[in-house]
């Protein structure tokens, strides 16, 4: 993992500096003396490899330095403020996607070919096809302006998290529903389910205990990419709903050439994806009865 982080750091560092423009470039040009003063202050006048080593050394100690553009804050402070917000949003979206998706998938599988199944799967297809920012706009028109139920944007109350979490989770709920349905149908046709029924077990027990365990496997392995998708998806939605999370910081850091903040964000995202994938691998091993735990 250290190796991954190092590679990501190095690539990100040189890519950032290869892009034209710098953090202190303003619309109006400054007298050269003032510009030199500013560059000296942020150590931008040192040779590139020296800058690289300094920043790498600090990053190894989890110190990403001051943000270039949010001059009153260090990168660590920005992350400390932004992370819980994105985490809240992500958790809501994921829980929503998982519960709604599996529930819809199971029902569809059990009531195959019924109007319920058809409408669920139609919605799922739509959910996958519609990008989340389009969904967000539709939701805002519907819930904020037509029904006047929810606030338009911002952060600070439970009401404000509902819409963004819904929009963020929707495509994943849709995908999970399809996965669960397929998995469920697949498992339900297998011999051990027939045996379970034959032994006279209660259908609910058969489904939740035996069938779901196999059916949920593809869903669990999808949770890794889903987390990645939710992380990146929240970049757009945080902008639309004006949420002060990691996504907003990431976008602004990149467009404003805030080198230090962008680097901090890249590393946190890398770490997050890495950890989530690892967790998924572990739970995969625990759920799949075919995997032997030694």
């Amino acid at each position: 993992m250290v190796l991954t982080l190092w590679i990501v750091f190095t690539v990100a560092f040189f890519l950032m500096r290869a892009v034209p423009g710098g953090p202190f470039q303003e619309d109006r040009k400054l007298p050269p003396e003032i510009e030199a003063n500013i560059r000296a202050q942020f150590n931008l006048d040192a040779p590139l490899h020296e800058q690289y080593l300094t920043h790498l050394g600090r990053a190894a100690q989890l110190d990403f330095g001051s943000s270039y553009k949010l001059k009153d804050f260090t990168v660590n402070e920005v992350i400390a403020q932004g992370f819980p917000i994105s985490a809240s949003l992500g958790i809501f979206a994921l829980v929503f996607a998982f519960t709604l998706g599996t529930a819809a998938g199971i029902i569809s599988a059990l009531r195959r070919q019924s109007w319920l199944d058809v409408s669920f799967m139609a919605m799922a297809t739509l959910g996958i096809a519609v990008p989340n920012f389009v969904l967000a706009s539709l939701c805002i028109v519907l819930f904020v302006f037509t029904m006047k139920l929810l606030p338009a944007a911002g952060w600070g109350s439970l009401e404000q998290i509902i819409l963004p979490a819904l929009c963020l989770g929707a495509p994943f709920a849709a995908y999970i529903a399809r996965l669960t349905r397929t998995g469920m149908l697949d498992v339900l046709s297998q011999d051990f389910i027939k045996t379970a029924y034959a032994k006279g077990l209660h259908p609910r027990r058969v489904i939740l205990r035996h069938a779901l365990r196999g059916a949920i496997l593809p869903v669990v392995s999808y949770l890794g990419p889903a987390t990645a998708g939710i992380l990146t998806g929240s970049l757009v939605l945080e902008r639309i709903f004006a949420l002060p999370g990691m996504g907003s910081h990431f976008i602004d850091a990149a467009t404003q050439r805030d080198y230090t903040l962008a680097m901090g964000m890249v590393l946190v995202y890398t770490l997050l994806l890495y950890t989530m994938n690892m967790l998924v691998d572990i739970s995969y091993a625990l759920i799949d009865p075919r995997v032997r735990l030694d």
Binding site: D45, L70, A152, A242, P244
Partner: protein
């Protein structure tokens, strides 16, 4: 064991999931503010001397106060921390008299010395204030800021003995020991030879390193001493050798009297006193906590109508009333919020939904719908949209080509059909509406004349004309305007123009290095005077960026800055602008309008050409607010 793990897993997962949800909902809710506005992007800092932006200005004008503050409608500088001032007969010396009994938000007295010290910090090269040039009107201020010295100058030497700072970061203040004397000479090692292919930045770095090895001979109290910024034999190591700040034109007469001497009469100097970079900051706090820690809500000491309560990054800056503000009884709000919302669509949603009382911008496409609403507040602004023409690149080096291009553009259509928010077609660089100044308007649209000029330049109907490109930074409206102009030039002049959009940073780079033919630009006036537009185009000016220069133009701009009679001065500037509009290194396209939306229950909001609106003048009619929101069905 393994079966236990497997059996337990669903429960563990459930507990983890529930735990995560509990965590996710566990955030405190905020009490609502009395007044909320959308302040566009997140502010870079609340340190008045470190920022340049408009959003920053709105917050800093809440937290701090200058000697003067603009009248919300007329923009006339009104006494603020200063109760009055006098000007000498030669218009070069301003004496400011502070109000009695002024205090900072921590109760310590606010005196003339605070301004003297703050301006020193502002101008100090190590502070690297981008706006430092705003104070160059003050005698010797530029010398102090730039750090260039000549033998015989009075200098201050900062010895390399700064106390280690408790913040752990190296700090400019408190400074090391300061010695004052007269510069005798500077001994320089041979100047490094710079390769031709070196970038501008590398060149600057090499020169900076070279300057580190200079040795300064300074006469102090009759004896000669040597100082250098690096360890040189026989030299005492120093941090800075600067022009002596005691000889900069800022003098404290007594606690309540500040005397400022200028280089030249500057008719708009009082306006600068209402401009936030020149506000005073609290010395003791800065010396104790350092940068940036002094700006934390628990540390910051301020002088304005409000105090900082907290900052949630890219969400809101919350401020509360400062009971020690000299005019606290006239401040209408106890709690105010500045929201950081980047998208103007989201901002409009917040406004329409009653979550914001004032937004500063609305998305272009909805303007025609909003325009008829009473709460849409649109005013002409001191901002010009124009095209820079790189006069070093043929065929744009030919004045006839530049004139032809200008004559063929229908600016009225751009305003009425594309922008549609009441923008005004521009035939001058300086926008209308400045007291005493008549903008020098260039020729009106004339397609026939444009064709003639182009033919005279050797490109009849565009034949043989080298291909040119319009460069603009990526934004929908820039593209639409460029396309319109492209099609007109094609239709009327028969020339082919390419469009090229670049992301902001790249665009700036290209314009700076004159690597373009035609580039879109805009300029916002810093103060209400034509000079803020016109001095941009002196030969080699930092923001000229067209390669154009004209000795007569330079002479007029310089002359204007020494003229004390306002009418004469305006006439000189007008003459200069006439040259600019004849030579056309730029093509003005239109003048901006502000696009504020303000709820009708907000009082004290007025349109003005700087689009500057201080919260301190505003108020909210609470009953009216309840009534309006109720009527719109918002709870």
């Amino acid at each position: 064991m393994q079966h236990a793990a497997r059996r337990m897993f669903p429960y563990i997962a459930l507990v983890l999931g529930l735990g995560a949800v509990t965590y996710a909902v566990s955030f405190g809710t905020l009490p609502p503010a009395d007044f909320t506005w959308v302040n566009e992007t997140e502010i870079q800092s609340v340190d008045p001397q470190k920022v340049t932006g408009v959003p920053e200005g709105r917050v800093i004008n809440c937290l701090f106060e200058g000697l003067y503050r603009f009248h919300p409608e007329t923009l006339e500088p009104m006494p603020a921390l200063a109760e009055r001032h006098t000007v000498s007969d030669d218009l070069k010396t301003y004496t400011f008299y502070l109000r009695p009994g002024l205090t900072w938000s921590d109760g310590s007295p606010l005196t003339a010395e605070d301004f003297r010290w703050s301006w020193m910090r502002f101008l100090h090269p190590e502070n690297a204030a981008q706006y430092a040039y705003q104070l160059y009107y003050v005698k010797n201020a530029a010398k102090y800021n730039v750090g260039e010295l000549a033998a015989g100058d009075s200098v201050e030497v900062e010895i390399d003995d700064r106390p280690p700072h408790p913040s752990g970061r190296e700090q400019l203040f408190p400074r090391g020991t300061i010695l004052r004397g007269t510069l005798v000479s500077i001994t320089k090692p041979p100047e490094p030879e710079l390769a031709d292919g070196l970038s501008e930045e590398d060149r600057a770095d090499a020169l900076a390193q070279w300057k580190q090895r200079w040795s300064y001979e300074v006469e102090i109290d009759g004896s000669s001493r040597h100082f250098s910024k690096s360890d040189l034999d026989g030299n005492q190591r120093c941090r800075h050798v600067l022009f002596d700040y005691n000889h900069v034109g800022v003098r404290v007469i007594d606690e309540r009297t500040l005397e400022v001497t200028l280089e030249n009469p500057t008719p708009y100097f009082l306006q600068l006193m209402a401009f936030y970079p020149l506000y005073s900051v609290h010395r003791a706090t800065i010396e104790e906590h350092g940068v940036p820690l002094w700006t934390k809500p628990e540390n910051i000491v301020s002088s304005g109508p409000f105090q900082l309560q907290f900052r949630r990054i890219r969400d809101r800056t919350r401020m509360v009333k400062n009971p020690r503000y000299w005019n606290a009884q006239s401040v209408a709000f106890n709690v105010i919020d500045a929201l950081a919302v980047n998208s103007n669509t989201t901002a409009l949603n917040l406004y329409m939904n009653g979550q914001a009382d004032w937004i500063t911008d609305v998305p272009g496409p909805v303007i025609p719908i909003l325009q008829d609403r009473a709460d849409f507040n649109s005013q002409p602004m001191l901002t010009t949209y124009f095209y820079r023409l790189c006069v070093e690149k043929p065929p744009l080096d030919d004045i006839r080509v530049r004139q032809a291009l200008n004559l063929a553009i229908d600016k009225r259509i751009i305003c009425e059909a594309i922008l549609r928010a009441g923008q005004v077609p521009a035939r001058s660089l300086v926008p209308p509406g400045l007291a005493g100044y008549e903008p020098a308007e260039g020729a009106e649209r004339n397609v026939e004349r444009a064709k003639e000029l182009l033919a005279q330049a050797g490109y009849p109907n565009g034949r043989g004309m080298p291909r040119i490109t319009i460069l603009y930074n990526t934004l929908e409206s820039h593209r639409t305007i460029a396309e319109r102009i492209q099609s007109e030039w094609k239709k009327h002049l028969g020339i082919d123009v390419e469009l090229e959009n670049q992301e902001w940073g790249v665009y700036l780079d290209r314009v700076r290095s004159l690597d373009y033919h035609i580039a879109r630009a805009a300029w916002v006036g810093d103060y209400a005077d034509p000079n803020t537009f016109l001095d941009m185009f002196v030969t080699g000016g930092e923001n000229n960026e067209t390669g154009w220069g004209d000795p007569e133009y330079d002479r007029l701009i310089a002359l204007a800055s020494t003229q004390s009679d306002p009418a004469e001065r305006m006439a000189t500037l007008h003459k200069a602008e006439e040259i600019l509009m004849e030579e056309l290194p730029i093509i003005p396209v239109y003048f901006y309008v502000s696009k504020n939306m303000v709820r009708p229950y907000v009082g004290g909001f007025h349109g003005n050409i700087l689009d500057r609106h201080d919260i301190v003048h505003m108020s909210v009619d609470a009953e009216e607010k309840d009534r309006v929101l109720e009527a719109e069905g918002i709870h």
